[in-house]
């Protein structure tokens, strides 16, 4: 009996010490190192004073699969990442705490908050984000004697500029256009088209969508743009680093790559060109912190979430050149006003979130599978295997089957 008593006592003491231990599950890669430095440099002391310690558990490999496993096994951490592309599915599990009344969401960029809003409740606070911007190679434009892209460009003037540079040489191209909705979609949004209509259906045969597909693929078939794989590259950033491609349409994640692979590339950046609707289109790529409904330390978790997304933490992340903050107030940060190409690119990407038809990179409950039929259609059109109408009709049929199955 005494042994049981001591055991329970030990357990209680042990449990008490653990009460302020908050676990975070997120991406592997460099994120664990960033958190360690963030704790050391900014928020660690403050949290420690309140008796809260953090432990970060990186999920290497397929994050979404690992997170769903952890959620169903009951081993998910107190705080976990919610990638925007799978957010609706993760929130639908009911394991994510609604943050209404717990955290002030007004301070964050509206479109980011919307991406994590389901039925009027907010379930995640974006830790950082990215949008697409036009990056252009200054040397190439100068050599071709063509004016660099700017924020007044429409699809037509933008394409003309690309044609001008591509005329320079046989192995010079205006742009790399991957056959993927994850980049092309931004152009589709510029026509006013939306991934899902009010009834939750997707219409790929909408004239607006067809127009965007035609414009995008025609540039490839014309030889002005090229698919990355055709010049031995895996992605648009790789194309851009070869010095033979005039523009890249990517997010700020390309900056670190350029720093390593093409440190002297002279580039500038501007907003996406204005589409037929008179607006630009853009994607919002982001990942948010969410709180586990089953967390035994909910109050401490909320406190940690506040600290992680606090102005001080976000400013540090921005100034270290690691990511773009999700708070509106950081728009005026002096970092964005620096003369360097990197700072300007970051500012363009930051402001891109509030300019035109900006939609989260998400596809309802089916996640990124949504893109497969569309990507197949883009490949078929770009390589000349099918006409725009035929390819889109087939893609619509495949997509309907996919959506029906998910219902």
């Amino acid at each position: 009996m005494r042994r049981i008593l001591i055991g329970t006592l030990v357990l209680a003491l042990f449990g008490g010490a653990l009460a302020q231990q908050i676990r975070i599950m997120g991406y592997g890669g460099q994120d664990p190192a960033i958190l360690v430095r963030l704790l050391d440099d900014v928020i660690g002391a403050e949290l420690a004073a309140e008796g809260i310690t953090l432990s970060y558990e990186p999920l290497e490999g397929d994050f979404n699969a690992a997170l769903f496993n952890a959620l169903s096994a009951g081993t998910a951490a107190d705080i976990f990442y919610i990638p925007v592309e799978t957010a609706p599915g993760i929130i639908a599990t009911g394991k994510v705490l609604a943050l209404d009344g717990l955290i002030d969401t007004d301070a964050f960029i509206d479109t980011l908050v919307e991406a994590y809003t389901v039925d009027g409740s907010v379930y995640g606070i974006a830790k950082d984000f990215n949008t697409l911007a036009i990056f252009y190679n200054l040397d190439l434009f100068e050599e071709a004697g063509v004016e660099v892209p700017n924020e007044t460009d429409t699809w037509e003037t933008f394409a003309d500029k690309l044609r001008g540079v591509a005329a320079l040489d046989d192995d010079v191209y205006g742009a790399c256009f991957p056959a993927g909705f994850d980049r092309f979609g931004a152009f589709a949004f510029a026509t006013g088209w939306q991934t899902f209509d009010d009834g939750g259906a997707t219409n790929l045969l909408d004239p607006a969508f067809v127009e965007a597909v035609t414009w995008y693929t025609d540039l490839v078939r014309e030889g002005v743009a090229i698919q990355p794989s055709d010049i031995g590259q895996g992605w648009t950033g790789g194309c851009f680093a070869t010095d033979n491609v005039a523009v890249a349409i990517e997010g700020a994640w390309m900056l670190g790559f350029l720093r390593n692979e093409a440190p002297n590339l002279q580039y500038g950046s501007t907003f996406m060109p204005i589409g037929p609707s008179g607006e630009r289109g853009n994607f919002l790529y982001t990942v948010a912190y969410g709180i586990n409904t089953d967390s035994p330390n909910r109050d401490a978790a909320v406190r940690v979430l506040e600290a992680l997304t606090s102005p001080a933490a976000q400013q540090w992340v921005l100034e270290e050149g690691l990511a773009i903050p999700s708070r509106t107030e950081l728009a005026d940060n002096p970092f964005f006003l620096e003369e360097t190409a990197e700072a300007q690119a970051n500012a363009t990407v930051f402001r891109g979130a509030a300019d035109g038809n900006v939609l989260g990179f998400q596809f309802g409950n089916i996640g990124t599978d949504w893109m497969t039929p569309v990507n197949d259609a883009l490949v078929a059109i770009m390589t000349g295997q099918a006409s725009v109408d035929d390819a889109l009709t087939e893609a619509q049929r495949d997509l309907n089957a996919l959506l029906d199955r998910a219902r």
Partner: protein, 480 residues
């Protein structure tokens, strides 16, 4: 007595026959060797290509070439000289106070184009991705000063191009980069040399890492690299850039250490348990012997995936007994054994296949040997430890190698058990984290270097102990 002519004739015939035989032998040997070479190339080719690519500045270079600057002896000697000048270290180089690094660069200037002195700059260049981007580092740019350029005498030369021969001259420039005053020792000294349009980069003390800005800028990752720092740049980066942000310890070294200790412990535990169990099952007569053997075999038949959730839960929670006392406390892990090598060994040490191999081997040893020991009064333990086990050396050798190879390459269990912190991982899991960190930004050189290094122990093991591998296969296969 044969006539001289007939003797020469038969000798000639004899010789012709011998020649024909020799030719056939050589032809046959040649064919077999050609086939073996072909197989070797087919199988070793990808590995070789990966090894060469891991040395490259841009592993994705397209079209790929086998002749790369890193494999040119002229660059080796230059790298050694520059390393000595930069840090007094011909192997790893660096940039230390008092250094004066001499450098030369030459351009081809077509006739009619004016020569303009190129701009020389030591850039502030930090790693763009991965852990290197997160850690704070010192920049050579803050301490380096570049001397005035000294123009070398022009040398007339011509260049063949698609549009015909271009007349012109070779123009060279020399300068030094010095580290004045006090300061820290810095790993690398990057350099950019930018010329005007029209001047074409020809050569430099060290071949440029890349040409940028449409050929205008010759960019060097490190102009004081030392031989190893130059040829094995990606390998050096694996150790220097991939560090734990908390302790600054090299993660890769930690992963290698973990992999070795995991393999070593598993070998010892497997040998001990498998040989004891094998001996018992082969020699001792007791009730339920057959059943136990069947159970051992059965555990071999159940797929790993079926058992892993229950085993995982045991590792996570320990086995809870009365009063909150957990079984894992016995090993000093009251909070469960996740993220520890002990836990990993715990779930992987029992290997039914090994027990099976040992049992088969012990059955092949003549009983008479043990009976002789029994007459001398040896106990079971003595017979096992002093008589049979020494005789089982070939089987133990084979088992050691197979276990090492299995443990070194083991992915599934380490992936589940070892997740955090970074320095608790084994090499295969570390390589996965490499892929996530560096693959996303196209830094394949670093990943290839890590992968090649992780393959080396197994390759050495295989080359040295080939014979045992074969024996391992035959022990498992046949019953003598």
């Amino acid at each position: 007595m044969a006539t001289p002519s007939s003797v020469t004739l038969t000798t000639r015939e004899q010789r012709a026959f011998e020649h024909w035989q020799a030719r056939r032998r050589w032809a046959r040997a040649g064919l077999i060797y050609a086939l073996m070479l072909l197989f070797a190339i087919v199988f070793v080719g990808p590995l070789m290509f990966a090894a060469i690519s891991s040395l490259r500045t841009d592993p994705l270079e397209y079209p790929p070439s086998v002749v790369i600057p890193q494999l040119q002896p002229s660059n080796w000697s230059a790298a050694a000289r520059l390393g000595l000048a930069g840090n007094g270290d011909r192997w790893f180089g660096g940039f230390a106070p008092g250094a004066v690094v001499p450098f030369e660069i030459a351009y081809f200037v077509p006739a009619g184009v004016d020569v303009v002195e190129p701009e020389v700059e030591v850039p502030r260049r930090r790693p763009g991705a991965g852990l290197g981007a997160v850690l704070a580092i010192e920049f050579a740019a803050d301490y380096a000063s570049v001397s005035a350029l000294e123009r070398r005498p022009d040398v007339p030369m011509t260049v063949d191009t698609d549009d015909g021969v271009i007349e012109g001259r070779k123009v060279g420039f020399a300068f030094t980069i010095s580290y004045e005053g006090e300061g820290p020792e810095i790993d690398r000294l990057p350099l950019d040399v930018t010329a005007v349009v029209g001047m074409r980069y020809l050569e430099s003390t060290l071949t440029a890492s890349r040409l940028e800005r449409r050929g205008r800028t010759a960019s060097f990752n490190n102009v004081a690299p030392g031989v190893l720092g130059y040829v094995l740049r990606n390998y050096v980066r694996v150790f220097s850039e991939v560090r734990s942000p908390a302790t600054r310890q090299s993660l890769f070294l930690a992963w290698i250490g973990n992999s070795f200790s995991y393999a070593a412990v598993r070998i010892v535990v497997t040998l001990l348990i498998a040989s004891m169990a094998g001996y018992a099952l082969a020699r001792l007569r007791f009730r339920g012997r057959e059943l136990i053997f069947m159970l051992v075999l059965f555990s071999q038949m159940v797929p790993l995936q079926v058992l892993f959730i229950s085993n995982y839960l045991v590792l996570r929670d320990g086995i809870v007994t009365i009063g909150g006392f957990t079984l894992s406390s016995l090993w000093g892990y009251p909070g469960g054994m996740l993220n520890s090598l002990t836990g990993l060994v715990f779930v992987t040490a029992l290997n039914a296949g090994a027990v099976f191999i040992m049992k088969q081997f012990f059955e092949s040893i003549p009983r008479e040997v043990e009976e002789a020991a029994m007459i001398d009064g040896a106990s079971h333990w003595r017979r096992y430890w002093n008589v049979v086990l020494p005789m089982a050396r070939p089987a133990l050798g084979a088992l050691t190698i197979l276990t090492f190879q299995g443990a070194w390459n083991d992915f599934f269990w380490p992936f589940i058990v070892l997740t955090s912190p970074e320095n608790v991982k084994t090499l295969p899991i570390g390589l996965l984290s490499f892929r996530n960190t560096y693959g996303a930004v196209g830094d394949w050189g670093l990943i290839l270097a890590g992968a090649v290094m992780s393959a080396i122990p197994v390759i050495i093991l295989f080359v040295v102990f080939q014979r045992y591998f074969m024996e391992g296969v035959s022990f498992g296969g046949g019953k003598e």
